[in-house]
């Protein structure tokens, strides 16, 4: 990718990639396991993400011009890089399941129950592919607008729900012990894994590689600020039992918000702000999958890979969201296992192997 993005855009991408699923669907999953301690799980996952991000930046900074696939090519040759491309392509296809669950269930279940599922998938794939065609710079610029919308959405929600907030619902802390919230943090860490995999592909396009570590850390910390208010408000306003009942807990939260007497049910306004963030997630997943797909077949440009990637991802996304039960099964079980294994496996392996192949890295530089 020849385009470059600024460190600010990079931070905005991190926040936008994490936000849509983390605020509601993930919180519902966590609430089902640890009740009112969901904010603790969110915090634990973010601290772990901070550590993994540090490793990730160390890995890419070894040869800052190359993404993780090209890194693997330099270290182990073209065949190994094809394997990494394939694994990463499969990862991004799988990631389209949770992303489509977030997109479709927010819109269809709450606003357009009569619309067919295929419509949402087609719209997501067409709009996403169109943005991917113009490249990372355009997507990153949109994500800056997305960041502004996230701030507005959070502000609207705080104003609309503080009146009904009961801090007693957050107590007692560690109701299910100390290990349960740590274990439940895997759901949010799986959200973080998409962001990490994105960074493995797009980090070389970020200007000023010396600032990567700082930007990544700030991106993670800002994401925590934007996300953690949701489990706190969901517990204090809805209660953890209510949050755990819903697939999309954040929409239930949005439906319950009201400003004064007259401004009720402004979830339509909130969903509009939410839209850009979820669109960023869709486009980045498509972009990264296209890049991996093109590298798998040795193409230098990713544009020819957009269509096949979009068709495969769209088909998988459609299959996942078609059945609520299947979607939640994948989301809470297999997706968490596969996503964390692949992400931690790739980053951990490349980090460790870098110590043994310093000479090759030096030559490549």
């Amino acid at each position: 990718m020849k385009y470059k993005i600024t460190n600010g855009m990079y931070m905005a991408l991190i926040i936008n990639m994490l936000y849509p699923k983390a605020i509601g669907i993930t919180q519902g999953s966590i609430a089902r396991e640890v009740g009112s301690d969901m904010w603790i799980s969110t915090l634990v996952a973010t601290l772990l993400a901070l550590l993994i991000f540090w490793l990730l930046v160390v890995v890419i900074q070894r040869i800052p011009e190359l993404d993780i696939i090209d890194h693997s090519k330099v270290l182990f040759g073209p065949l190994f890089s094809k394997l990494v491309s394939l694994i990463m392509f499969i990862y991004f296809v799988l990631s389209f399941g949770p992303i489509m669950v977030t997109f479709v269930y927010h819109l269809k279940d709450f606003f357009l129950p009569d619309a067919p599922v295929i419509l949402f998938i087609v719209v997501a794939v067409i709009v996403g592919s169109y943005a991917v065609y113009f490249g990372i710079e355009v997507i990153a610029r949109i994500s800056l607008i997305g960041l502004f919308c996230i701030i507005l959405l959070n502000t609207l929600l705080i104003i609309g729900s503080l009146e009904d907030f009961d801090i007693r619902e957050l107590l007692p802390v560690f109701e299910f012990g100390i290990t349960s919230p740590i274990l439940a943090s895997r759901h949010h860490l799986a959200d973080w894994s998409i962001v990490m995999m994105m960074c493995l592909v797009i980090l070389p396009t970020v200007n000023n590689d010396e600032g990567w570590r700082r930007s990544s850390m700030f991106g993670v910390i800002f994401s925590l600020i934007f996300v953690v208010m949701w489990p706190i408000l969901e517990t204090g306003v809805l209660t953890s039992q209510v949050t755990s009942q819903y697939l999309v807990a954040c929409m239930q939260m949005a439906r319950s918000a009201h400003i004064g007497f007259f401004l009720h049910r402004y979830e339509m306004v909130m969903i509009a702000f939410f839209g850009i963030s979820v669109l960023t997630q869709i486009t980045i997943a498509l972009l990264c999958a296209s890049v991996c797909f093109s590298k798998l077949f040795g193409s230098k440009k990713y544009h020819p890979a957009i269509l096949p990637s979009a068709i495969i991802m769209g088909a998988y996304g459609y299959w996942v969201v078609l059945n609520h039960n299947r979607a939640m099964g994948i989301l809470e079980n297999s997706w968490v296992t596969y996503s964390l294994s692949i992400t931690l496996g790739i980053i951990g392996f490349m980090w460790i192997i870098g110590f043994f192949m310093k000479k090759k890295i030096k030559n490549a530089k």
Partner: protein, 406 residues
Amino acid sequence: MARYFWRTGFMLACLLILTSCVGKREIDDLAMVMGVGLDLVEAENGEQHVKVTAQIARPADARGQTGAPSGQTGEPIWTISATDKSIFGAIRKLGSASSRRIFWAHSYVIVINEDLAKNGIKDIIDFFIRNPELRMRTWVAVTPDNASELVSSLTGLEVIPGQSIDGLFRYSKITRSAPRTQMIDLHAAYLSDSTELYLARLKLESNEISNKQPEQGEKQKNITLAGTGVFKGDKLIGTLSAKETRSLLLFVEDVKSGVGIVKCQDDESKFSTFELVHETLKVTPDYKNGKPEFTLTVRTTAKLVETDCTIGFDDDDKIAELETDIENELKSDVTNMLDKVQNEFGVDILEAGNVFNNEHPSEWKELRNNWNSHFEKAAIHLNMDVKLKSGALLFKPTTSGKKVDQ
């Protein structure tokens, strides 16, 4: 040329799917429900069915504040009902009688008849929380009257009865005659492992004097807030009166204002009335000898608003005596309510379990399974602290200026 063709084709395809027409609902195709009533009825085959009554606004006759009757029917609402085994079935039947699609998103209130509530309201909670159309902030209440009659009664100053009921709840922070229960609270309380359900109670009361025939007195019925319905699980087991509800609200809501009436010390046939402001309750849970205990501390500021006695604010001793009188009065109100809730109903609607769990989480794990029976036996100590700080606008007592020889 081919590129131009594909680009045009792509844009035309986008036009088809991005028009936002799927699932559209035009406002003039909708029948906006303003209130829902649920009653228990017996079907011809002897089965118990649910009767759903929907109060629907007639837009042509419900315009503005006065309901200028441009529809010429003179009726700002249209009320229909249908009966079926399930709520959804009845709602579908309502649809077959309506010329517009029935739209539930703007319903202000759901009223459940007490006979139906005694059979259990789990299905009602489940139906209304599953429905994406309904607001979670819809008021929910029980009524001893027919819910169908209640939701179709024109009441209050508003043109739409649902709007009037909404107003009753909105300003009930001052009257404190019923809890402000919304669907979201109902849902949370039902799922809670400690707190039982309670709902506001609405009643039709003859309290309106006809402007055309004032000599007939209070003949016309209006909807009034009338206490609290108390549930065990999902079944209604009893009610608290409006007076008892005032004490209940100290535990479960932020209360703005209250009233205390005490007898005059020099003449017991006369009374002084105090407005109680800034009422706060602190619940301190304790665990002694394997049993939960609670210490309640109520603090309030009283304001003298009406009196038949001679009370001046320059007499500190008299003020202190009055404070004790108000404390005793309030103590007896709260004790009566606690007695009813603990001994008659045996259910925790005071969120005591929640407070206990927050302070004693490890002990809570032992008690949570049979919390109601532990709550029933829990000792509750009550401390009152009333400060009489003002006589509103007056400083000196209102006494007659006429001098009479003793």
